[in-house]
């Protein structure tokens, strides 16, 4: 068997394989094969998010693969596992071998320009979110027929690509297909039409078994083979599949003997199977059908078995942007030059001073470009100055300047600059940061978390115990100790002989080597952390209790203001819940080694409303008060990372530890309602965060960014180096990963 499946005894007996049991090794397999972080999700999530799924499937990212929750088509668990594995490889094949690289421009020549432009304008005008493939299907009068043909043809091409690339997988697919079709044929209720059509389609695959095909089918079969065989070649591309689709569509749609219809298949592994009504003989039966003896040996034909692991391709392809449509429609990339007046207006909006040259062109003086640079990435020193709410008490060289005046809630407020990447300069005293306290929770979150993660907490405690100073190495050349340091003793004896005064440090001592770390955990508690940790957009409905169900309903569920997050299944947890759990596990680990640490949360609602929540400060113990504050963490507003980092820097820089770290935990990119001139401008927040991180590093502090945002790679690589961030694919892994990261950073 190809894997170490951990199955319950009951499942082993039934042969069924559940996705939940194998999802992690399959996920690693998918990522290794594709080189991309692939999420494997149950199909039910797809159908939940789109009630009309079967008739009009929704779109999804290319990073997701949907699989059934269980496969029990075979009695042997190994075969059911192979179903999952081959399906996964097949889906990855679409990514690896260029299906999603499909360009509409490559097949434009096969359609009349009028039809192409008309259809394209129609789609664009409806502002639909579509992928290039979806647009391609909509070019056909019968889009579902085109879709089905394309999917089957492309599946054949992908199968052959996989077979060429992975010899082991090819053998597995052959063996699997052979067994699968034998099983299918024995099923009395298996739709014969499906089998025969798939036999025809899959004849191009490398699965060769002897089966039966009606002679009347042979002409079409041969014709079809001649169309498909170019797709089996190494150089075949998705565009070739598209072209073959068009050709086959024309042939099939003109032959009334082959009306094609699409119906949902009963099995989750064949979500949308297209079949044809096979012409039978006069009696309405097929004499060469399995179960009926073949009339002649020549009626038998080698045909391939079923391979029905396919999903609608348009689900997992990127969508066309407005710009893509424009390019297609205009068929060129020429733009129109700005008039001098328009350019001048733009520069005025950006508050960049300009003059008109002798030729009437806008000129920007160099000093405007330089912006009177206050660019500083070195150790920061606050300047004193007049603030909106009073004067500061800033001392030269200090990193923060609390105001004399506290706001009406007696909260300390601070001003910080913000980097404006367009101007290439800081905006002085742009952000107002307030330190706030967290309202303690009223819910035994900590105990429930420790119970849920009992195994992990025990393991983490054990690992961190080894970091405890009393377990660290011996100190040699010490003045006293239980053992003699032989090297030092010899050197001392030699020094005696040569007349030098010998050293007294000739002993080995097991000393407590102090760990000298300070870490600030900076937690994003923006509104987006209220989203589900599994990525679904709405909470799954809590199923109604059956009359004979016995379910323990905790007392707290009766309290209106409390959201029970622990006792529901994993998929109902929010990101904030997972972050809180991770903090609890981390705190247990840190309790073992006694490192200096603080936990802050941050959120913002505009530049003048950046809140820093002190959950645990550096000099506080991890006591009941702190635990209740962790319980009380709730999602707030937006994510203005720059000022949060700068305030964190000002606090941790004052700690005396030799090594200081800021670990930023977030679930998305930096954004706020006025984080940049244009709220859609993501670059502004990213650049400010990048500069803030540089300021942190320039002050000798090590930053590390941990995110559960799957798109994190896209922007984190812009703002910090690869070794300074980690994207966690499954948010629920955060409690497991955070201690590992800390362990790695501090040993």
């Amino acid at each position: 068997m190809g894997t170490n499946l951990k199955l319950s005894q009951e499942r082993k007996t039934s042969g069924a394989v559940f996705l939940r049991d194998i999802i992690r090794p399959l996920k690693f397999y998918a990522q290794a094969l594709s080189g991309e972080k692939m999420r494997l999700s149950p199909l039910k999530l797809l159908s939940q998010s789109s009630p009309g799924y079967r008739s009009r499937p929704p779109f999804a990212d290319v990073e997701q693969i949907f699989l059934p929750e269980v496969c029990q088509e075979f009695s042997a668990p190994f075969m059911n596992f192979m179903a999952f594995k081959i399906s996964t490889a097949h889906q990855i094949g679409f990514s690896e071998f260029g299906t999603y690289a499909f360009q509409l421009s490559s097949i434009r020549d096969l359609f009349s320009p009028e039809i192409f432009l008309t259809r394209l304008r129609s789609i664009y005008s409806q502002r639909m979110s579509v992928s290039p493939l979806e647009v391609f299907f909509r070019l056909f009068p019968n889009r579902e027929l085109a879709h089905d043909l394309f999917q089957i043809l492309e599946g054949v091409r992908i199968d052959h690509c996989l077979g060429r690339a992975y010899r082991g997988l090819k053998k597995e697919m052959v063996d699997y297909c052979q067994t699968a079709i034998e099983v299918k044929l024995k099923q009395p209720d298996f739709p014969r039409e499906t089998t025969l059509f798939n036999f025809m389609i899959k004849s191009a695959s490398f699965c060769q078994i002897v089966s039966f095909l009606p002679r009347s089918f042979l002409n079409h079969f041969t014709d079809f083979l001649s169309l498909v065989s170019p797709l089996l070649e190494k150089q075949a591309t998705v565009e070739d599949t598209a072209r073959t689709t068009i050709t086959l569509y024309e042939r099939i749609s003109s032959k009334p003997v082959f009306p094609l219809k699409t119906v949902p298949d009963g099995s989750d592994f064949g979500l949308k199977v297209t079949f044809t009504e096979i012409p039978f003989n006069e009696k309405g039966t097929n004499p060469a059908w399995p179960g009926n003896p073949a009339e002649k040996e020549s009626d038998r034909l080698a045909t391939p078995p079923l391979h029905s692991f396919q999903l609608p391709l348009e689900l997992i392809q990127r969508k066309l942007t407005n710009q893509d449509f424009q390019i297609l429609l205009n068929n060129s990339e020429t733009g129109s030059p700005l008039s001098t007046t328009t350019l001048g207006d733009r520069l005025n909006e950006m508050e960049i001073g300009w003059q008109t040259s002798s030729k009437g062109l806008p000129m920007i003086p160099p000093h405007q470009v330089a912006g009177g640079f206050k660019y500083r990435i070195g150790p920061s020193s606050r300047k004193s100055g007049t603030r909106l709410l009073g004067t500061t008490k800033a001392s030269p060289g200090s990193h923060s300047s609390p105001l004399d005046i506290e706001d009406e809630n007696d909260e300390k407020v601070y001003y910080y600059d913000e980097w404006n990447y367009r101007a290439g300069d800081y905006l002085p005293d742009w952000c107002l940061v307030k330190e706030k306290s967290i309202k303690p929770g009223s819910f035994d979150f900590i105990d429930k978390t420790l119970e849920s993660y009992a195994g992990l907490v025990a393991e983490v405690r054990r690992q961190f115990q080894w970091l405890r100073p009393e377990y660290l190495k011996k100190i040699y050349c010490y003045e006293k100790g239980d053992e003699i340091d032989l090297n030092a003793a010899i050197e001392a004896a030699i020094d005696c002989r040569i007349g030098h005064p010998p050293s007294e440090k000739i002993y080995v001592e097991k000393l407590r080597k102090e760990r000298n770390f300070s870490t600030l955990f900076l937690l994003d508690i923006s509104a987006s952390t209220a989203e589900r940790a599994d990525g679904t957009s709405s909470p799954p409905p809590i199923p109604p209790l059956a009359s004979n169900d016995r379910v323990f309903i905790p007392r707290f569920l009766e309290m209106e203001e409390v959201t029970p997050t622990i006792l529901l299944d994993t998929t109902s947890k929010r990101v904030i819940d997972v972050e809180k759990e991770a903090l609890v596990v981390m705190a247990e680990a840190l309790r073992e080694i006694g490192d200096d640490y603080a936990i802050w949360g941050f959120s913002s609602n505009g530049r003048l409303d950046v809140d820093l929540y002190i959950i645990k400060d550096f000099d506080e113990d991890y006591n009941e008060e702190v635990k209740r504050r962790i319980e009380g963490i709730k999602p707030q507003h937006s994510t203005r990372m720059g000022p949060a980092l700068r305030h964190a820097l000002s606090k941790i820089a004052a700690r005396g530890a030799k090594t200081k770290t800021i670990i930023l935990i977030s679930d998305g990119y930096p954004q706020d309602r006025d984080y940049g001139e244009d709220r859609q401008d993501r670059e502004y927040g990213l650049y400010d965060t990048k500069v803030a991180l540089q300021e942190v590093k320039a002050n000798g502090i090590h930053p590390f960014c941990l995110t559960v945002d799957l798109a994190g790679n896209d922007y984190l690589r812009k703002i910090c180096s690869e070794s300074e961030y980690l994207v966690i694919e499954e948010a629920t892994d955060l409690p497991r990963v955070l201690p590992k990261i800390y362990h790695r950073l501090t040993t």
Binding site: R24, P25, R167, T659, L745, T747
Partner: protein, 274 residues
Amino acid sequence: METPVEEYHILKEPYYLPLSDEVAIFQSAYEAKLPVLLKGPTGCGKTRFIEYMTYRLGKAMGIPLPLITVACHEDLSGSDLVGRYLLQENKTIWIDGPITRAVKYGAICYLDEIVEARKDTTVLIHPLADYRRMLPIEKKGEILEAHENFLLVISYNPGYQSVLKNLKHSTRQRFVAIEFRYPTRNNEATIVAHETGLPLDLAVDLAILGEKVRHLGDQGLQEGVSTRLLIYAGTLIRKGIEPRRACQVAVANAVTDESDLIGGIQEVIFSIFP
């Protein structure tokens, strides 16, 4: 057979497949007496490269050029590198350490995994690694000027990112740095085929396996699978072990202990090897 360290010569040309311009850069650095830092993941060929260059440079000069290698560790002291007095019968004699021997006899001194050594030990090499090219021996009250054939080479694995174990700038900025990565598929297949004697198609399969497992870098396999491990797997295959089993023991079980990750890697192995 025991050989004095300064007499350890590379007698036969080691196999090394250049992947970029590292040979030319090292040669130029040697001629200009610039110390070199080799950085890259484990098992990517840094040590083989230095052996190859030592042989090549010696051959070009017409003399056997010794290579002295020191595996650095946390307990490495200055005396271990420079030397110490020892008692022998009724005498006290000075024994040169490996660095001192390299400096005296004109060898290439290779300090492997320099970040593992304590920083107070590492700074000892500073006078050798700048324009001075001299080694102070405080115990003897001497200053040793480096032989003209001497070169200091250190290696370092930047993939292990701990805030403690990093190279100080005062050290790293004394060296020319050559970066090593795992080879591309074709190059790695060539290397594996040569080292193991396997047919090229099998070596390509091993290279594909390496490439795929390295995609799991963010799952705890920061270093991926090294070329060395692929060679081990190939060696087992050549000895008659079935390819899937050879890759299980030499790759999957070697790079991780996590069962799900082993499971995933095994499925990749089974996909590549029939």
